[in-house]
C-alpha cells in the first residue's frame, strides 16, 4: 500500500500532489458536442495548471485520513475558553442544506427569496429581543468583522456630530481579545489600555480619569474574558454617555447571559454576537462564522448594508440604512450560518436558551469548585460561562509550563483549554465547558487536569515531551516561521 494511513509513518510528508498518477481523475467533465466557438487569443490563456491527479476513491481516502488527524466537538470534550465549543445540532445542517435555501442566488429579487429573508427577519427579531438592541445587520462574517462594523458606525456617528477630529481614542481593557484593539486601529483610532481591577472588573478609577472629549468609545467584553461579570457596567455606561462616548459590547460570551440580561437595558450602544459560538453553528476549523452587529436607535442609521425589513406589502426586503457605513461583504453575509442559528433558536425557544445559559454557567462553576486548589485561581470569584486558572505555581516551582500541561491533556483524550489568554493571567488556562458537556465529562476533565498537576511534580519530563498519543508530536514552530514553507513545490518532500 502506497498511502500510509493516519498516524502511520510520515503521513504529512506527502500531499495530494505527491499521491497522484498522471492520467487519473476524480470527476468527469462532459465534452461540448455542438459547434465550437474559438477560444480567446493565446496571450489571454494559460498553458497548463499544476494540480494533483487522483482517482475519486483516492482523493476521498486522502481527505478522510486527514480528518482522522483532527479533533472536533464530536470527537470529545473541547473546553476551549472564549470559543463556546458546544454541541452542533445536526438538524441545523439538514435544514441549511434544503435545496430551496442552499441554492438561492444572492442576486435574486426579493419576491424570489422570501423564505430566506423571512428566516433572517425572524432571527433579527429574536436577537433583538434577546439583546434589547432591536436594530440588526447580518453583514459581518465573523466576530472581528462585527467589531469592525460597530467601530465604523461609531466613527460615522461622530462624523455627523462633527467630533471625529477630536474623539480619536478608544478605551480597551487589558483583558480584551486581540481583535478589539486591532479593530480600533483598523478604523484609525488610538487604543488606550484600561487595567483590570483586583475584582476582575474594569478599574473604575482609570475609566473615570480617561473619559474625556477625546474618547470615541469604550469596548467592553461582557461577560469579560475572565468569565466574570463587569460589575457596575450599567453605571459605567452612564459615565461614558455623559462624556459623549459610546459603549461597544463584545458579545462573544453571550452564551453566559442568553435570556438573563440584555445589552440594551445595560446601556450598550452597539454589540456584536458570535453566532458560531452562542448559537451552535459549526466552527469549521476556523469559520465560517457570523458576527451580526446590533445597536440602539441612535446608531441604527449607520448599520452596515444590508438590513432586513418587512414592508407594508408583507414582502421582506434587504435595504440600505439611511447613513449606512456601507457594505462589508459583496453580498449579504453568511446566510447559511444564519439558517443554522435560526434553527437553533427555534429548537430551544426562550426556556431552552435560558436553560443553556444556566447550565453553561453551572458547568463552569462546577469546574471551578472541583479544580480549586489544584491550580492557582487569580480571580477567586463565582464565574459565569468560563473559569481562568493559572499554571504559574507549576511554572515557578516545577519548571512545567501551561503549554506542557495543555499538551499532556491531549494524552487524556481532551482538547486543551485556551492557553495564554487573557494576557493578564500568567500561564492562563481558560476553561469553558459549555452546557452540552454532561457532569461526568466535566469530572473526567477535572480528574485529568489533577492527574497532570500531580505528574508535573512526580515526572515533569513526561509533560515536557507530551503529547505521546497524538497523530504527531511537538512541531518545530520556530523553524516554520524562520524559513517558511507555505505551499507544495515539486521538490519539497
Amino acid at each position: 500500500m502506497r498511502d500510509p494511513g493516519p498516524g502511520v509513518a510520515d503521513f504529512g510528508a506527502r500531499l495530494s500532489f505527491d499521491r497522484g498518477e498522471p492520467g487519473r481523475r476524480a470527476v468527469d467533465v462532459p465534452s461540448w458536442a455542438a459547434e465550437e466557438t474559438p477560444l480567446p487569443d493565446d496571450h489571454l490563456l494559460r498553458d497548463s495548471v499544476r494540480l494533483p491527479e487522483l482517482s475519486q476513491g483516492g482523493l476521498v481516502r486522502y481527505y478522510t485520513a486527514m480528518s482522522a488527524r483532527n479533533f472536533g466537538i464530536d470527537s470529545g470534550t473541547y473546553p476551549l475558553g472564549s470559543c463556546t465549543m458546544k454541541y452542533n445540532p445536526k438538524v441545523n445542517d439538514t435544514v441549511a442544506n434544503l435545496p430551496g435555501l442552499a441554492r438561492a442566488h444572492p442576486q435574486a429579487p426579493a419576491e424570489d427569496i422570501q423564505g430566506t429573508l423571512r428566516i433572517q427577519l425572524e432571527l433579527a427579531l429574536g436577537l433583538g429581543e434577546l439583546t434589547g438592541l432591536p436594530n440588526v445587520s447580518f453583514a459581518p462574517a465573523a466576530g472581528a468583522h462585527g467589531e469592525l462594523a460597530g467601530v465604523f458606525m461609531v466613527a460615522r456617528a461622530l462624523e455627523d456630530r462633527g467630533e471625529i477630529e477630536t474623539r480619536r481614542r478608544i478605551l480597551v481593557p487589558d483583558s480584551a481579545h486581540g481583535t478589539n484593539p486591532a479593530t480600533a486601529a483598523m478604523a484609525g483610532f488610538k487604543v488606550t489600555q484600561i487595567p483590570t481591577g483586583a475584582d476582575g472588573s474594569l478599574d473604575r478609577a482609570t475609566i473615570e480619569r480617561e473619559l474625556d472629549e477625546t474618547v470615541a468609545a469604550v469596548m467592553v467584553t461582557a461577560p469579560n474574558t475572565l468569565g466574570l461579570w463587569e460589575n457596575g457596567i450599567e453605571e459605567v455606561a452612564g459615565l461614558i454617555h455623559d462624556a459623549g462616548g459610546y459603549l461597544y459590547g463584545d458579545g462573544a460570551n453571550f452564551n453566559a447571559i442568553m435570556g438573563r440580561v440584555r445589552f440594551g437595558d445595560l446601556g450598550f450602544d452597539v454589540v456584536h454576537l458570535n453566532l458560531h459560538k452562542s448559537f451552535s453553528t459549526p466552527h469549521g476549523g476556523g469559520g465560517p462564522g457570523s458576527g451580526p452587529v446590533l445597536c440602539s436607535e441612535e446608531l441604527a442609521p449607520y448599520l452596515p448594508t444590508p438590513v432586513v425589513e418587512e414592508g407594508d406589502d408583507g414582502l421582506v426586503r434587504l435595504v440600505a440604512p439611511e447613513r449606512s457605513i456601507g457594505r462589508l461583504q459583496q453580498f449579504q453575509g453568511n446566510a447559511a450560518v444564519l439558517i443554522r442559528a435560526y434553527a437553533y433558536m427555534r429548537a430551544l425557544g426562550l426556556e431552552g436558551l435560558r436553560a443553556a445559559s444556566g447550565q453553561a454557567v453551572l458547568n463552569a462553576n462546577y469546574v471551578r469548585a472541583l479544580l480549586h486548589g489544584h491550580y492557582d485561581l487569580p480571580y477567586d470569584r463565582p464565574v459565569l460561562h468560563e473559569v481562568v486558572f493559572s499554571g504559574s505555581r507549576q511554572r515557578r516551582e516545577l519548571g512545567v509550563r501551561t503549554y506542557d500541561i495543555a499538551k499532556r491533556l491531549i494524552d487524556h483524550g481532551f482538547h486543551p483549554p485556551t492557553v495564554y489568554f487573557p494576557l493578564i493571567v500568567e500561564e492562563a488556562l481558560m476553561i469553558e465547558p459549555t452546557e452540552s458537556e454532561p457532569p461526568e465529562a466535566i469530572e473526567a476533565l477535572v480528574d485529568a487536569l489533577i492527574s497532570v498537576a500531580e505528574e508535573a511534580e512526580s515526572d515533569p519530563d513526561t509533560l515536557h515531551h507530551a503529547p505521546w498519543t497524538a497523530p504527531i508530536g511537538r512541531l518545530d514552530e520556530a523553524t516554520a516561521a524562520r524559513r517558511p514553507v507555505l505551499r507544495w513545490q515539486e521538490d519539497s518532500t
Binding site: 461540448w32 480567446p40 512541531l475
Partner: protein, 455 residues
C-alpha cells in the same frame, strides 16, 4: 405549528438532568442556578423576552421546508451571475466537509490534534498559488470584497500612499466594500475607467478578471501601468476562469484576490463565501489572516527521532492576538471549512478537469449568446472576448424583459441598464455556465422568442 416541546423534559442538546444539577449545586454550595447570576444587576435580571415557542425536530424541519418553499424553485431556469455562479460541484466535496472532525473543530491552536485542518489549509494555499500564479497565499479571508479591501490596505501600508484606484467595470459590491474599509482607514478611492488615469498618488490599481460585465481583461498592460507609477497591481480574479485564463501572477500582479464560494458548494444566498488572497513573497509579512506552514517534529520531541512532517499556524507575529493594535488585520475566524471544500473541488477536477470545465463553460455560454443574438429584436452588445457572462438587449426595456421572463418561470440576468458603459444601456447581464442544463437554455430561447413576438 400544532405542537411544541414539553418544557418539563430536559432538552436533547443539554445533557444534565435535574438530579445532576442538584448534585452540582450542592458541590458548588449555592441553592439554585439563579444564584450563580447574582452579579448581574438585580433590576435588569430575567427580563420579559418574546420568542416563539421551542419546536421538536420534526416540526422544525417542517417549518424550514415551508420557508424553503417560499423561495423560487431551486430547479427553475435561472441566469443570474454577477458575482455568484452555479458550478458543477462533485458530490465528494459536500460529503468530505461534512465529516465532523473537520466541521466541528476550531482554529488549529493545538497542531498535534489539528493536522487535518492544517494540512488541508496547506493544500488550499498550494492550489491558490498554482491557480493565481502567485508565490504565497494565506488560508483564506471572508469573501472577495473584504479580501480586496485588505489588499488595498496592504498596498497603502507598503507604498505609504493614501488613495487607491478601482478600474471599472468592477463588481459594485466589491467597490462598496473597498470604500467602507478605505473610509474607516482614512483612504481615498478613485473609480477610473482607463488605466491611463492612474497616478503616483495611487497605492494600487485594482482590476477584475473577468470584469463585472463579463469581459476578459488583458492584465499585463494594467500591471505595467500600475508599476510605472510605483503602485501595486491587484487582480480580482475568478478562480474557476483561471482554469483557462492566464494566471494574473504571470501577467505581473502583486496581489490576487478572488471569490472561492462557487467552487465550494451551492450559492447559499451568497454566504458563506471565501476570500482568496495571494501575493508576492515580498509582501508575506504584511499579509492579513492565518497562514499555515510546513515543518517537522522537534528532534527532542517524542517522535522517536523520526522528525515526521507536520503543519502549524505560522508567521503569527502579524496577527491580532499577538500584535493587537499593530496587527496587519483584525481577522480571526474566517472561512476555513469553505477553503477545504474549494480545495477538494479543484483537486477533484485536477489539471485537465479545471481546463475542460472552463472550456465547457465558455462554449455553453457562447452558444447560448449566439442563439439569443440570432433572435429577431435581440442583440448581445460586444465588449471584446468574454468568459461566461454577456449583455442582452431585447425588444422591450430591460426591467420589462426581466419581468416577462419571470412570468414564464425563468430567472433573468441582472438588470445593469443603469450602468454608465454604453453597451450596458437597456441590457440584462446573463450568466451561462458549465452547470446550466441544455433544457434551461432551450427554455430561455423559447421564452425570449415569444416575448420578441409580443413586442
Amino acid at each position: 405549528m400544532v405542537s411544541s416541546r414539553s418544557s418539563a423534559s430536559p432538552h436533547p442538546y443539554i445533557p444534565a438532568t435535574g438530579a445532576d444539577r442538584a448534585r452540582m449545586l450542592e458541590r458548588i454550595g449555592v441553592p439554585d442556578v439563579g444564584a450563580l447570576f447574582a452579579d448581574l444587576p438585580a433590576a435588569m435580571r430575567d427580563p420579559a423576552i418574546d420568542l416563539p415557542p421551542a419546536l421538536p425536530e420534526p416540526d422544525l424541519i417542517a417549518l424550514m421546508e415551508e420557508h424553503a418553499g417560499a423561495n423560487a424553485s431551486p430547479s427553475r431556469p435561472d441566469f443570474l451571475g454577477a458575482g455568484a455562479y452555479r458550478r458543477s460541484i462533485p458530490s465528494i466535496t459536500g460529503y468530505l466537509i461534512g465529516r465532523s472532525e473537520f466541521a466541528t473543530s476550531y482554529t488549529a491552536y493545538q497542531p498535534e490534534i489539528s493536522q487535518g485542518t492544517l494540512q488541508a489549509a496547506f493544500e488550499y494555499q498550494s492550489v491558490v498559488c498554482e491557480l493565481t500564479g502567485m508565490d504565497v497565499s494565506n488560508a483564506g479571508l471572508y469573501d472577495v470584497a473584504s479580501s480586496t479591501a485588505e489588499a488595498c490596505l496592504l498596498a497603502a501600508r507598503v507604498t505609504k500612499r493614501r488613495t487607491v484606484a478601482l478600474l471599472e467595470p468592477i463588481h459594485p459590491g466589491t467597490a462598496e466594500v473597498v470604500r467602507t474599509y478605505a473610509h474607516g482607514a482614512g483612504l481615498g478611492v478613485d473609480a477610473i475607467s482607463s488605466p491611463e488615469e492612474i497616478g503616483d498618488e495611487h497605492a494600487c490599481l485594482v482590476a477584475q478578471q473577468p470584469d463585472f460585465l463579463g469581459t476578459i481583461a488583458d492584465l499585463e498592460p494594467l500591471a505595467e501601468a500600475a508599476h510605472a507609477v510605483g503602485a501595486l497591481f491587484v487582480a480580482v480574479a475568478d478562480p474557476f476562469a483561471l482554469g483557462l485564463l492566464r494566471p494574473p501572477g504571470d501577467a505581473g500582479a502583486d496581489i490576487v484576490t478572488g471569490e472561492g464560494r462557487d467552487l465550494a458548494g451551492p450559492p447559499n444566498y451568497g454566504g458563506p463565501s471565501l476570500g482568496l488572497f495571494a501575493a508576492r513573497t515580498k509582501y508575506l509579512r504584511q499579509m492579513p489572516g492565518r497562514i499555515v506552514g510546513r515543518t517537522r517534529e522537534l528532534a527532542d520531541g517524542n517522535g522517536g527521532g523520526e522528525e515526521r512532517t507536520g503543519y502549524v499556524l505560522t508567521l503569527q507575529a502579524r496577527e491580532q492576538f499577538i500584535r493587537r493594535e499593530r496587527a496587519t488585520s483584525n481577522v480571526s475566524t474566517a472561512q476555513a471549512l469553505i477553503a477545504v471544500a474549494f480545495t477538494i473541488t479543484v483537486q477533484a477536477l485536477g489539471p485537465s478537469g479545471m481546463r475542460e470545465s472552463a472550456v465547457l463553460c465558455y462554449q455553453r455560454a457562447h452558444d447560448a449568446a449566439s442563439r439569443i443574438a440570432a433572435l429577431p429584436g435581440y442583440e448581445t452588445p460586444d465588449r471584446g472576448p468574454w468568459f461566461q457572462e454577456f449583455l442582452v438587449r431585447g425588444p422591450v426595456p430591460a426591467a420589462d424583459l426581466a419581468a416577462r421572463l419571470a412570468a414564464r418561470g425563468i430567472g433573468a440576468g441582472l438588470d445593469v441598464s443603469a450602468r454608465p458603459e454604453p453597451e450596458a444601456r437597456d441590457a440584462l447581464l446573463f450568466a451561462v455556465t458549465e452547470a446550466t442544463p441544455d433544457a434551461h437554455v432551450d427554455a430561455l430561447i423559447g421564452a425570449l422568442a415569444e416575448i420578441g413576438g409580443e413586442a
